[in-house]
C-alpha cells in the first residue's frame, strides 16, 4: 500500500464524482422506497435495461447515450406506471406487499437479467461518445471526462427532480401521498394515480441512470446486482425520502469506496456499501414503528 498525496486527492475527487452518479442511480429508489414505501429491488435491473437501450441505439445509430436516454424516458415512464398498476392491484390493495410484493420485484429483477443474458450474452458492452476517452488534467489531478460528464448531468437530474417535487403540483401531491392519503382523497385527488405517476418517474430516471452507467463503465447483465445493496444503503443513509440527503450520502459512499478501492483493491468495493447498509440499519431508531 503506497501512500501518496496525489493518490489520495485523486481517490477523493473520483469518489465525489462517482458519488454524484450514485445519487442519480439512487434517486429513483429515494422516490419509490423513501417516499412511496415500495420496495422496488428491481430498480438496478431497469438501470441496466437503460444501459442496454443506450448501447443498442449507440451502436446502430451512433446517437449519444444521454440523448438516447432522454428520448426513451417516456417509454420507461409508461413501463413504471404499468408495473405500479399491477403491483397495486395484486399486492398493495390486498395488503400483501411485504412478502409477495417483494417476491414480485425479485421476479422482475431476475427476468430482466436473464432476458438480457439470453439476448446479449455475458460479454461486456460499452458505448462510444466524444467525451469517452479524453481526460482533464489539473496538475496531478486526473479527471476523466467519461466520469465528469455523467456526474454533472446526474446533479442536473437531481436538481430537476427536486424542483419537480417541491415546486410543481404533482410533486407536492407525491410528497403528500406519502404522508396522508386520506387528506388527498378529500381533496378529490386519486392517491393511486399520484403513486403511479411517481413510480413512473422513478423508472424513467432509471433510463437516464443507465445511460450514465454505460458511459462510465462497460456493462453486462449481472452488474446490476452490486448496485442493489449500494442503492438501498444510500437511500437509508440519506434519510429515506430526501433527495439532498441522497446526494450527500451517495458522495460519502463514493468517497469511502474510492479510498478502499485505491488503497486496498477494487474487489472490496461491494463490501463497503454492505458495511454502510448494516451500519445505517444498526444505528436507525429501533422499533417496529420507527421510521
Amino acid at each position: 500500500m503506497i501512500f501518496s498525496f496525489d493518490l489520495l486527492v485523486n481517490a477523493i475527487v473520483s469518489g465525489i464524482l462517482i458519488g454524484a452518479f450514485y445519487a442519480a442511480v439512487t434517486a429513483g429508489v429515494t422516490l419509490s422506497f423513501g417516499i412511496l414505501d415500495i420496495v422496488n429491488i428491481a430498480h438496478p435491473a431497469f438501470i441496466i435495461l437503460g444501459s442496454y437501450v443506450a448501447y443498442i441505439v449507440n451502436t446502430t445509430f451512433g446517437l449519444d447515450p444521454i440523448i438516447t436516454a432522454i428520448i426513451v424516458t417516456p417509454a420507461f415512464y409508461a413501463l413504471g406506471a404499468g408495473i405500479y398498476q399491477i403491483y397495486y392491484v395484486s399486492f398493495e390493495k390486498r395488503g400483501q406487499e411485504s412478502m409477495r410484493g417483494l417476491a414480485f420485484f425479485f421476479g422482475l429483477l431476475f427476468i430482466t437479467e436473464v432476458t438480457l443474458v439470453l439476448y446479449f450474452g455475458v460479454d461486456y458492452r460499452y458505448v462510444e461518445a466524444r467525451y469517452i476517452g479524453p481526460t482533464l488534467h489539473f496538475g496531478s489531478l486526473d479527471v476523466p471526462l467519461r466520469i465528469l460528464v455523467p456526474c454533472l448531468v446526474s446533479l442536473l437530474l437531481i436538481a430537476v427532480l427536486q424542483l419537480v417535487l417541491t415546486r410543481t403540483f404533482i410533486g407536492r401531491a407525491i410528497m403528500a401521498v406519502a404522508q396522508d392519503q386520506l387528506a388527498l382523497k378529500l381533496m378529490a385527488i386519486d392517491p393511486i394515480r399520484i403513486k403511479r405517476i411517481a413510480f413512473g418517474i422513478s423508472i424513467a430516471s432509471a433510463s437516464l441512470a443507465g445511460a450514465f452507467l454505460i458511459i462510465i463503465q462497460p456493462v453486462e447483465p449481472s452488474v446490476g446486482r452490486e448496485y442493489i445493496g449500494r442503492v438501498f444503503a444510500i437511500c437509508v443513509l440519506g434519510g429515506m425520502g430526501s433527495l439532498p440527503g441522497t446526494v450527500i450520502a451517495a458522495m460519502l459512499v463514493g468517497i469511502v469506496e474510492s479510498l478502499t478501492s485505491t488503497f486496498y483493491g477494487p474487489s472490496w468495493a461491494p463490501a463497503v456499501s454492505f458495511g454502510f447498509l448494516l451500519l445505517t440499519l444498526a444505528v436507525r431508531p429501533a422499533g417496529l414503528l420507527g421510521r
Partner: protein, 331 residues
C-alpha cells in the same frame, strides 16, 4: 399424525424412491434426483422463514454456498466424513443467519430482505478473494469412485440428501403444529398485534432465521462432492436464489406440503428441460412462473386445490378445531 409416525412414513417413502432409482439401473437418476432433493431442502428451509414468518430471504445462495465452502475449507485441512461436514455446514450457516438476523430483524421485513441480497453479493466477493478455498479459480474435490455398500458414490450422496430432505420436511411439519408455528403465523399476520399478545417476536424470528440458514448450509455441504469442481459462480448461482423463492411460492407457503410439491414439480421439470432447452431459458420460465403465481395464485398450488375442493378457506393455518356445544353457524 404423530411426528414419529410421519418420520417413519417419510423414511419408507424415501427408501422406496431409492429402490425405484436403483431398479432403473442408470446412475443418471441419482444425479438428477440429488438436485431435486436438494431443492426440497432449500425450499422447505426458505419457507420456514419466508412462508411461516413472512420474512423474505433473497440470499439463499449465500447460505447454501457457506455450507459448500465450509466443506472445501475443511477438506483442505483434513478429510472428514460427509455427515460431519453436513453438521458443520449447518452450524456455520446457522451462525451467520443468526448474526444477520440479530442486526436486521428488529426492523421491517423489507430491510432484512435487502440485507440478505447484499449479503449474497458480499459473501461471493469474499470467497472470490479467498485463495485458500480456490478463489475465482475454483476448487477441486476428488470424490471416491465407489463406497460400500452403495456401489457408486452418487448413490451415497443421494441417500444423504434424501435423509436431509426427510429431516427438513419433518422439522417443518413439527414447527407448523407446535406453539412455535402459531407464533410464526402471528408474526406473518400482524407483528404488532403478536407482540401485544405476548409473542416474543424477535426471539422467534431469530429462531426461524437460524433454522432456515442452518438447513440451507446442510444442503450445501455435500455439494462439492457432488459437483467435483466448485466455482463461486456455481455455488452462488442465480438458480438457487430464484428457485428457493419460486418453489415455495408456487407450491404454497402455508404448509410443509407446498415447498415439497414446488420442489418436486419445478425441480423435475428443470432437470428434464435442461437436457432439451438451454438453462437460461429454463430459469426465465421459472422467473415468469414466480411472477405469474404471485399475482394470480398467491397461495400457490395448495391454495388452488383448497379453493376448488372448497373444504376450507385457502389461506387458513392450523387444523385444530374447537368443539363447543354451540351449533356451528352455516357459512
Amino acid at each position: 399424525m404423530r411426528s414419529g409416525l410421519f418420520l417413519l412414513i417419510c423414511l419408507i417413502v424415501g427408501g422406496g424412491v431409492f429402490a425405484a432409482a436403483l431398479a432403473l439401473g442408470n446412475d443418471y437418476y441419482f444425479f438428477a434426483g440429488y438436485v431435486v432433493l436438494q431443492y426440497v431442502v432449500l425450499a422447505t428451509a426458505w419457507n420456514i422463514l419466508g412462508g411461516y414468518c413472512g420474512y423474505v430471504n433473497f440470499g439463499s445462495a449465500a447460505f447454501f454456498a457457506l455450507g459448500a465452502y465450509s466443506t472445501v475449507a475443511i477438506h483442505r485441512l483434513t478429510p472428514l466424513p460427509i455427515p460431519i461436514l453436513v453438521a458443520i455446514g449447518g452450524i456455520v450457516s446457522g451462525f451467520v443467519g443468526f448474526g444477520m438476523g440479530y442486526l436486521t430483524l428488529r426492523l421491517r421485513g423489507a430491510f432484512f430482505a435487502i440485507a440478505t441480497l447484499a449479503l449474497a453479493v458480499v459473501l461471493e466477493t469474499l470467497i472470490v478473494n479467498w485463495d485458500f478455498v480456490g478463489g475465482s479459480r475454483g476448487a477441486y474435490i476428488v470424490r471416491p469412485e465407489t463406497i460400500a455398500p452403495f456401489g457408486s458414490y452418487i448413490k451415497y450422496l443421494f441417500m444423504i440428501m434424501m435423509l436431509l430432505a426427510v429431516g427438513s420436511v419433518t422439522i417443518a411439519r413439527l414447527i407448523e403444529r407446535s406453539r412455535l408455528g402459531y407464533g410464526f403465523a402471528t408474526i406473518r399476520d400482524d407483528e404488532l398485534a403478536a407482540e401485544a399478545s405476548g409473542v416474543p417476536t424477535l426471539r422467534l424470528k431469530l429462531i426461524a432465521t437460524t433454522i432456515s440458514g442452518a438447513l440451507m448450509g446442510c444442503a450445501g455441504a455435500p455439494f462439492p462432492y457432488y459437483i467435483g469442481y466448485l466455482q463461486p459462480s456455481s455455488a452462488f448461482g442465480l438458480d438457487y436464489a430464484v428457485n428457493s423463492i419460486a418453489m415455495p411460492l408456487i407450491g404454497g407457503t402455508t404448509s410443509w406440503v407446498g415447498p415439497l410439491i414446488g420442489a418436486i414439480l419445478l425441480g423435475s421439470l428443470q432437470q428434464i428441460a435442461t437436457v432439451t432447452i438451454s438453462s437460461a431459458v429454463n430459469l426465465l420460465i421459472v422467473g415468469f412462473l414466480l411472477v405469474g403465481f404471485v399475482i394470480v395464485a398467491p397461495n400457490g398450488i395448495i391454495g388452488l386445490v383448497h379453493k376448488y375442493l372448497q373444504h376450507r378457506p385457502d389461506d387458513m393455518v392450523g387444523r385444530r378445531r374447537v368443539s363447543t356445544d354451540a351449533p356451528e353457524v352455516a357459512p
